[in-house]
C-alpha cells in the first residue's frame, strides 16, 4: 500500500507545484495590469491661534482588490486584511484620544477638526457586510481582535450595554453600523506601538520617525486613528480591496526660547517653531517603500486673511500679488525651507479668504541633509479659526443622588454668520442639526421630558424636532439611544435641549473599581448635514494625487463631539459586607452556643451527677441517714445545699483577696515609682 502511494504523492506534489507556479505567475501579471499596493506618508503642520502647533500625520496604505496574492501582501499589514476578511468589515474606524479638542481656538469647521477631533478615550465604529443577525456576533469578535491588536481594553465594547446601532444620525449611516466608546480608556505608548507596527517602515524611517513618544504625549491633544474601508470585490473569488488610513493628530506647544524674555513686543509674537523643536527630531528622508512622502504647512483662512490685511498695510500691495510663489517670505513670518508648490484653496464661498498650503516633498532630503521645516514669526498676528455654525456643549444639571438633567446647549458662533448671511434673511432658511446621544442604562433617561429652548424661549418639541429616533435603555441589556434632527431657524443665537434622568442602582458587583469617581456618559455627536467641511486644492497631476488632499476634498458633514459627562451615582459602602459578615457571624456564634448548650446539656443528669459528687464527698452515711430521717419524718428528702453555698462564699472571698492584692500593688507602684 505504502509503496503504491508514494509515487502517487510525488506526482501530486509536482503537479501542484507546477500549477502553483503558473498561478503565481498569472497573479503577478494580473497585478501589474491592475493597481499596485501603495503606501503614502504625509505630514500636515498648522499653526494654531493659541500659540500651539498642530501636527497631523497621515499614512495611507491601500491594497487593491485582487485574487492574486491570496493572503499575502507586499506592504499592506496582514493583521488588518485578515480582520477585514474574517469579520466582513466594510468600514471601520478606531481612535485613541487623550485630551480634548478645543473647538473654540483650534477650529471646528475644517476637515481636520471635523474628522480627527475625537472624544477622549477609545471610539470604535464599524460597518459590516454581513446579514443583520450576524452583525452583533461579528462586532463582538472584532472588538476582541482589536483589543489584542492594540493592547487596549476594547473588548469591553463587547457587552451589549456599551455599544449601540445608530440609524441615521451618525454620518456613515447604515443599518449595519455599530458604535461604541470607552471614555475612560487611558491612552499611552502601548497603544501607539502596535499602531506604528502596521506601517511598512514602522517608526524607523520616513515621517513616522518624527513620532517621538515623549514629545507627543507631552502635547495638549493627541488622537491616533485608524480608518479602513474595504472597497468590496466585484466577483466572488477576489479579495476585497482595502484602504487603510492611519492618522495621528497632535497639538503641541512649541517651547519657544524667547519665552523667558518678558519683552512686551516679543510676547505678542507667536512662538517660532520647527520640526526639530517640537518633535526633537528631523526628517532624514523618506521610507523607501513609500510612494509619496510630503510635508505640508497649512495656513487657515483666518490667518491668511489676517496676513493679507497686515501685508496690505505694510507694503501697499494689491491683494492678488499675495498669492504668488514668493508668499513664503513675507513680513510676518518666514519659512526655513522653500516650498515646492503653493496651493491656494479653491473656494467659491469664501472668496476673500482661502487657506494656503505649502508642499515640501521629502524625497530631496537625506540623512546628511535632513529636512527641518521651521516657521519664524516676525510680527504679531492674531486670528481665529473657523468655527462650526453652532458650538455645542453639554452639561449636567441638578444635584443630589436621585435625579438630574442632561442639557445640550448650542450657541451660535459669530464667525459662522458670514456664510449663513446670504440666505439668513430668508424666513424658511433652516439649520439642520443631528444629535446622537448614547446614555448607559443606569442613567435612566425619560425621553418624554425632552424640552427644547430656542433663543431662550421654550418651544414645542414638534416644532423644532424634525425627526427623532429613540430606543430606550433596557436594564443591564442595552443603553438608551437618542437620535434627533433639530430644525433651527438660521438666525438662532442659542438653543438648548434638556432631558431628565433618574440615577439607577447597580448591583454591588457591577460597580467598576473606582465607583466613587462617578460614571461616564459618552460624548454626544453633533453634526451639521448642511455644512460640509472640505478644502479643495487643485492639483496638476491627477495620477499622483495626494491622499491627504483628496481626503480634504471629500464632502463630509461638519461634526463635533461634546464633553464626556461624569454622573455621580450612589455607591454602596463597599466595606459594609465585611462588617455585616462580622456582625452576623458573631450573632450566629452566640445563638449556636446557647442553642447547643440547651440541647446538649441534660439538666437532670447534671443534677444527679452533682448529687453523686456531693454524696461521694460527704461519704455515704450522711445522705443515707438524712434520707432515712426524712422518710421517718414523712417529708420529701432534700439534698444538702451547703456545698454550692460554701463555694460561692469562697469565690467572693477570693475576689476580695484579689482586689486587695491588686490595690496594694497599685499603691506600691504609685508610691515607689
Amino acid at each position: 500500500m505504502a509503496l503504491l502511494q508514494r509515487p502517487f504523492l510525488v506526482l501530486l506534489l509536482i503537479v501542484t507545484h507546477q500549477f502553483l507556479q503558473y498561478w503565481v505567475a498569472f497573479g503577478s501579471v494580473n497585478e501589474e495590469c491592475q493597481k499596485q499596493e501603495e503606501f503614502n506618508e504625509e505630514l500636515l503642520l498648522k499653526p494654531l491661534p493659541d500659540r500651539k502647533a498642530l501636527a497631523h500625520f497621515h499614512f495611507q496604505s491601500s491594497a487593491p482588490p485582487s485574487t492574486s496574492n491570496g493572503r499575502h501582501h507586499h506592504l499592506f499589514p496582514k493583521a488588518i486584511s485578515q480582520l477585514v476578511q474574517k469579520f466582513q468589515v466594510k468600514e471601520m474606524e478606531l481612535s485613541f484620544t487623550q485630551g480634548r479638542w478645543n473647538y473654540e481656538s483650534w477650529g471646528g469647521f475644517d476637515p481636520i477638526s471635523s474628522s480627527n477631533a475625537k472624544p477622549p478615550g477609545v471610539e470604535l465604529w464599524a460597518v459590516f457586510d454581513v446579514p443583520q443577525h450576524q452583525i452583533d456576533a461579528s462586532w463582538k469578535n472584532l472588538t476582541h481582535s482589536l483589543s489584542g491588536l492594540f493592547c487596549a481594553s476594547i473588548n469591553f465594547l463587547e457587552s451589549t450595554t456599551t455599544y449601540s446601532a445608530p440609524e441615521w444620525s451618525f454620518p456613515p449611516a447604515s443599518g449595519n453600523l455599530r458604535y461604541g466608546t470607552l471614555p475612560r480608556e487611558a491612552v499611552c505608548t502601548e497603544n501607539l506601538t502596535p499602531w506604528l507596527k502596521l506601517l511598512p517602515c514602522r517608526d524607523k524611517d520616513g515621517l513616522a520617525k518624527l513620532l517621538d513618544r515623549p514629545s507627543i504625549y507631552r502635547g495638549f491633544y493627541h488622537s491616533q486613528r485608524l480608518h479602513l474601508t474595504s472597497t468590496g470585490s466585484g466577483s466572488e473569488g477576489m479579495d476585497s480591496g482595502i484602504i487603510l488610513e492611519q492618522t495621528l493628530t497632535a497639538v503641541l506647544r512649541p517651547n519657544s526660547r524667547r519665552a523667558s524674555m518678558a519683552h512686551a513686543r516679543e510676547k505678542h509674537i507667536q512662538p517660532s517653531w520647527s520640526l526639530s523643536s517640537i518633535f526633537g527630531k528631523q526628517v532624514s528622508g523618506r521610507c523607501v517603500l513609500v510612494k509619496s512622502s510630503n510635508v505640508y504647512l497649512l495656513l487657515d483662512r483666518g490667518l491668511v486673511s489676517e496676513l493679507k490685511h497686515l501685508y496690505k498695510e505694510n507694503e501697499k500691495l494689491v491683494a492678488n500679488d499675495l498669492a504668488t510663489k514668493n508668499f513664503w517670505t513675507n513680513p510676518s513670518f518666514e519659512l526655513s525651507a522653500k516650498p515646492e508648490r503653493v496651493f491656494i484653496e479653491e473656494n467659491s464661498m469664501h472668496s476673500n479668504s482661502s487657506s494656503i498650503l505649502y508642499k515640501f516633498p521629502v524625497e530631496k532630503y537625506s540623512e546628511s541633509e535632513p529636512f527641518d521645516l521651521g516657521v519664524i514669526w516676525k510680527d504679531p498676528v492674531v486670528w481665529l479659526c473657523q468655527q462650526a455654525p453652532l458650538r455645542a456643549s453639554r452639561f449636567l444639571m441638578g444635584s443630589g443622588n436621585e435625579r438630574g438633567t442632561i442639557a445640550i446647549s448650542l450657541k451660535s458662533t459669530q464667525l459662522s454668520e458670514g456664510f449663513m448671511g446670504a440666505n439668513a434673511n430668508d424666513k424658511r432658511c433652516e439649520l439642520r442639526v443631528y444629535v446622537f446621544q448614547v446614555v448607559p442604562w443606569y442613567v435612566k433617561v425619560y425621553f418624554h421630558s425632552l424640552q427644547v429652548f430656542v433663543d431662550q424661549q421654550p418651544k414645542a418639541v414638534s416644532d423644532i424636532i424634525e425627526k427623532i429616533n429613540v430606543s430606550p435603555s433596557k436594564d443591564k441589556v442595552s443603553p438608551g439611544v437618542m437620535e434627533v434632527v433639530l430644525k433651527l431657524p438660521c438666525r438662532v443665537t442659542s438653543a438648548a435641549l434638556t432631558i431628565e434622568f433618574d440615577k439607577g442602582f447597580l448591583h454591588i458587583d457591577e460597580y467598576p473599581p473606582d465607583a466613587n469617581q462617578g460614571f461616564d456618559i459618552p460624548s454626544a455627536i453633533i453634526s451639521f448635514p448642511n455644512f460640509h467641511a472640505s478644502m479643495v486644492f487643485l492639483e496638476d497631476d491627477s495620477l499622483n494625487k495626494s491622499p491627504l488632499l483628496s481626503k480634504f476634498q471629500e464632502k463630509s458633514p461638519v461634526m463635533s463631539y461634546t464633553e464626556v459627562l461624569l454622573v455621580p451615582l450612589t455607591t454602596p459602602d463597599f466595606s459594609m459586607p465585611y462588617n455585616v459578615i462580622a456582625i452576623t457571624c458573631m450573632v450566629f456564634a452566640l445563638y449556636f452556643r446557647s442553642l447547643v448548650n440547651v440541647l446538649r446539656r441534660r439538666v437532670a443528669e447534671e443534677e444527679r451527677f452533682l448529687k453523686d459528687k456531693a454524696a461521694r464527698k460527704t461519704g455515704w452515711p450522711l445522705p443515707l441517714l438524712s434520707k432515712l430521717s426524712a422518710k421517718l419524718r414523712g417529708r420529701q428528702w432534700e439534698p444538702p445545699h451547703s456545698a454550692p453555698a460554701s463555694s460561692s462564699f469562697i469565690n467572693s472571698k477570693l475576689v476580695f483577696k484579689v482586689i486587695l492584692v491588686a490595690g496594694l500593688a497599685v499603691g506600691w507602684q504609685y508610691y515607689f515609682s
Binding site: 441638578g398 462617578g518 455621580p568
Partner: protein, 648 residues
C-alpha cells in the same frame, strides 16, 4: 512648586488692584476688568457672570425643597446686580470631567488690602496652574462679587452652574446696563489667543471647592489659618479635606491652624478644674503603665471643650459659616480658609503671605487633583475638637442615645402606673359587689384614657406648627423693626393658643376621678412625642437634637405638678419644685437664646429684637433648627408648663 515669579505676578495684581481702587471706585467695574485681563494673560478662559441679589423670603412650602426651586422672577434693575469674574484653566491632558473650584470673595466697592491679597494668592496659584502639566481636573477660579454678601454671590453662581434657566423672561441682558459693556472690549487677548466671553462657562462635575479669604486686620503673633467648615443644617465637608488642609498648613508651611472656639469657655474655672482632674488621672495612669496614654493636659482639655462646644453650636444653628455653605447644598465638599497674617505693616510681608498661602492652596489643589475618586473615605458626621482631632458619629451617638434612652422607659412606666392607679381607685370606689360588666367598662375607659392626653399633645403640636408659620404673615407687614415683629409674633402666638385652647382642648371635660392621674398620662405622651421628635432631629441635624435633648430631657423627666410638691412639703419635693421652675424658665426657647447670648457676649447687648433677627436668619437659611424649635421644643415646653400648673 509655587515660585517667586508667580508671587511677583500676584503682587503685581495686588498693586494694580489697590491702585485702581484709588482711581475709580464708583462702580468697581475697573477691578473686574483688571482681574479678567490678568486671567486672559495666563491663557485661561475668562468670563463674567452677572447675578441679582435674591432677597431671602420665608416660603413655608419651599422649606425642605432643593435650593433652585425657591426662585421668584422679579423685576431687576441695573443697580442691583453683581458681577462675578470666572477664570477656567482647562487641564491640558485631562478629559474635563471634573473641576476644582477656588473662590475669592471680592468687593470691588470697598475692598481692603485683605481682599486684594486673597486675590493675589489665588492669582499666583492660578498662574502656576496654567503652566503645570500634572493637572487632571479643570480649575475654576471664581472672584465672587461680595457687594451683596459673599454667600449670595457664590450661591448665585452655583445656581447658574447647576440649575441654569434656559427660558429667561425678565432677566436683563448685559446690553441693557451700560457699564458692563465696558468689559466686553477686552475681547481677544493677543498674546494667548484666549477669549473673553460673557456666556456662562462650565467645567465638569465639581470635586471640591476652597474659599480663600485674607483678613488683614489681625493681631496674631504668627501666621494663622482658620478653617470654617459648617454648612447649612450642620452638614460638614468630608473630614479628609480638613485633614489635608491641616496637614499641609502645619507640616509643610508651618502655619498655625485653628478652628472656631467658644472663647468664653476658655476662661471658665470649672472647666479648668475638670481638666486638671483629668490631667492628674492621666498622670496616675501613666505612672502605672507607661503605655496608657489617655491623659491630656488641662489646657488642651479646655481648648478641646471650647472647640467642641463651638462646633456643636454652629452645627446646631444650621447656618453656613461662610460661602462654602453654598457648595454643600450641591454635595460638593468645600471649606473656607481664612488667612490671618502676622501683624506687620511692611510690604515684604505681602509676598511672604502670597508665597506661603499660595503654596498651601497649591498643595491642597494638587492633593484633590490627584484623587481619582471624590472624597468618600472619611467621615461626614463629626464634631471637631481641634483642627486635627474630632469626635466621630459612632462616639457622640452613644452619649445622645444614653441621654434619650430613659424617655421611652419613663413614658411606659408612667403609662402603666397611671392606668393601674386608675383601675385601683376605680375598684376601691366601686363596691365589691359591682357587676362584672361595669368593671370591664371602666377598664376599657381606663385603657383609652391616654387618647385624651394624646389629643392635648397633638393640639399643642398643631399650635407649634401655627406659631412657626406666623412669621410668614409678619414678613408681609412692611417696615417692621425686629422688636415689633417679635412682639407681634408673641401676641399672635398667644392669641392662637388661647383660641385653640378654648375651642378645642377643654381638659376639664374629663371626670374628676381621672384628673389625679391625668397629668401622668399627659407627661407620658409628651415624653413619647419628645422622644420621637429628638430621634428624628438627630438624623437631620445631630447637634440641634443634642442641645435640645440637654434642655428638654431633664425638663420632661422632672415635670410634676407644683401643687403636689407644695402639698408634700418635704425637702426633696421642694428642691424638685425649684428645679422644675428653673428648667421651665431656661428651656423656653427665647429665654434660652437670651441666656446664651448674654453668657457669650455679655448681657448689655441683649435686646428683644435680637431673637427675631436670629429666627429670621434661621428660616432664611432653611435651617431645620427652626422647625425643631417650632414643632418639637416649644410644644414640649408648653406641655411641661401645663403639667407644672396642673390642678390636681
Amino acid at each position: 512648586m509655587l515660585a517667586n515669579q508667580h508671587v511677583l505676578e500676584g503682587n503685581r495684581l495686588v498693586n494694580d488692584l489697590t491702585s485702581s481702587n484709588l482711581k475709580s471706585s464708583e462702580t468697581g467695574i475697573e477691578s473686574q476688568r483688571i482681574i479678567a485681563r490678568y486671567m486672559l494673560d495666563l491663557g485661561a478662559e475668562a468670563s463674567i457672570h452677572k447675578f441679582h441679589r435674591q432677597l431671602n423670603h420665608f416660603h413655608p412650602l419651599h422649606f425642605f425643597s432643593s435650593p433652585d426651586s425657591g426662585i421668584i422672577e422679579e423685576n431687576y434693575s441695573c443697580s442691583s446686580y453683581g458681577i462675578n469674574t470666572v477664570g477656567i484653566i482647562r487641564a491640558p491632558r485631562g478629559d474635563g470631567k471634573e473641576a476644582i473650584v477656588l473662590v475669592t470673595p471680592y468687593n470691588a466697592l470697598k475692598s481692603g488690602l485683605g481682599e486684594a491679597l486673597s486675590i493675589g494668592i489665588a492669582y499666583s496659584v492660578f498662574s502656576l496652574l496654567s503652566q503645570v502639566t500634572w493637572l487632571a481636573k479643570d480649575i475654576i477660579w471664581l472672584v465672587a462679587d461680595s457687594r451683596y454678601g459673599e454667600y449670595a454671590a457664590v450661591s448665585a453662581w452655583l445656581r447658574d452652574y447647576q440649575t441654569p434657566k434656559f427660558s429667561s423672561l425678565s432677566t436683563l441682558d448685559a446690553e441693557m446696563c451700560p457699564d458692563i459693556d465696558n468689559l466686553y472690549d477686552l475681547k481677544v487677548n493677543s498674546i494667548t489667543g484666549s477669549k473673553f466671553s460673557s456666556s456662562f462657562k462650565r467645567a465638569g462635575t465639581m470635586a471640591a471647592a476652597l474659599v480663600l479669604k485674607v483678613r488683614n486686620k489681625s493681631d496674631q503673633f504668627e501666621d494663622t489659618i482658620s478653617i470654617y467648615a459648617e454648612a447649612s443644617n450642620g452638614q460638614m465637608p468630608n473630614l479628609d479635606l480638613i485633614n489635608v488642609v491641616n496637614y499641609l498648613a502645619v507640616h509643610r508651611q508651618g502655619l498655625h491652624v485653628k478652628v472656631e472656639k467658644l472663647w468664653s469657655l476658655l476662661n471658665s474655672s470649672w472647666l479648668k478644674i475638670l481638666g486638671e482632674i483629668f490631667e492628674s488621672l492621666g498622670k496616675v495612669a501613666k505612672s502605672l503603665n507607661p503605655k496608657w496614654k489617655f491623659g491630656i493636659t488641662a489646657t488642651e482639655y479646655v481648648e478641646g471643650t471650647a472647640t467642641l462646644a463651638s462646633s456643636l453650636y454652629y452645627q446646631a444653628l444650621g447656618l453656613p459659616t461662610g460661602p462654602h455653605g453654598a457648595f454643600r447644598d450641591y454635595q460638593i465638599d468645600a471649606i473656607t480658609l481664612e488667612i490671618l497674617p502676622k501683624f506687620s505693616s511692611d510690604k515684604v510681608r505681602h509676598s511672604d503671605i502670597l508665597l506661603r498661602g499660595g503654596r498651601l492652596i497649591e498643595g491642597v489643589i494638587r492633593s484633590v487633583n490627584n484623587l481619582l475618586e471624590k472624597f468618600h473615605q472619611s467621615f461626614f458626621l463629626y464634631l471637631l475638637t481641634s483642627p486635627s482631632k474630632f469626635v466621630s458619629v459612632g462616639v457622640y451617638m452613644i452619649a445622645f442615645a444614653l441621654l434619650i434612652a430613659p424617655l421611652p422607659i419613663v413614658a411606659a412606666s408612667l403609662y402603666v402606673d397611671a392606668s393601674s392607679l386608675g383601675n385601683c381607685s376605680k375598684s376601691d370606689k366601686s363596691t365589691p359587689s359591682a357587676s362584672l360588666d361595669t368593671d370591664e367598662h371602666s377598664i376599657t375607659i381606663g385603657s383609652w384614657m391616654w387618647l385624651n392626653s394624646a389629643k392635648l399633645v397633638f393640639l399643642v403640636h398643631l399650635w407649634g406648627a401655627i406659631v412657626s408659620l406666623i412669621p410668614y404673615v409678619i414678613c408681609q407687614i412692611p417696615d417692621c423693626t425686629p422688636t415689633t415683629s417679635f412682639m407681634i409674633w408673641v401676641l399672635l402666638s398667644m392669641l392662637s393658643f388661647l383660641t385653640l385652647y378654648s375651642v378645642l382642648a377643654s381638659p376639664l371635660s374629663c371626670a374628676k376621678a381621672s384628673q389625679e392621674k391625668e397629668w401622668a398620662l399627659v407627661k407620658s405622651v409628651t415624653i413619647s412625642s419628645v422622644f420621637i421628635g429628638l430621634g428624628l432631629m438627630s438624623v437631620i441635624n445631630f447637634a440641634t437634637a443634642e442641645i435640645g435633648a440637654l434642655l428638654m430631657v431633664p425638663m420632661c423627666l422632672l415635670a410634676r405638678p407644683l401643687k403636689l410638691d407644695v402639698r408634700a412639703g418635704t425637702l426633696r419635693s421642694f428642691s424638685r419644685m425649684i428645679g422644675n421652675l428653673v428648667l421651665g424658665l431656661i428651656a423656653f426657647p427665647p429665654a434660652a437664646f437670651f441666656l446664651l447670648k448674654g453668657m457669650l457676649d455679655g448681657f448689655g447687648s441683649v435686646n428683644v429684637g435680637a431673637f427675631w433677627i436670629w429666627v429670621e436668619s434661621l428660616w432664611a437659611w432653611n435651617s431645620a433648627t427652626y422647625l425643631f424649635i417650632g414643632m418639637v421644643h416649644l410644644p414640649c415646653w408648653v406641655l411641661c408648663i401645663h403639667i407644672l400648673l396642673h390642678t390636681c
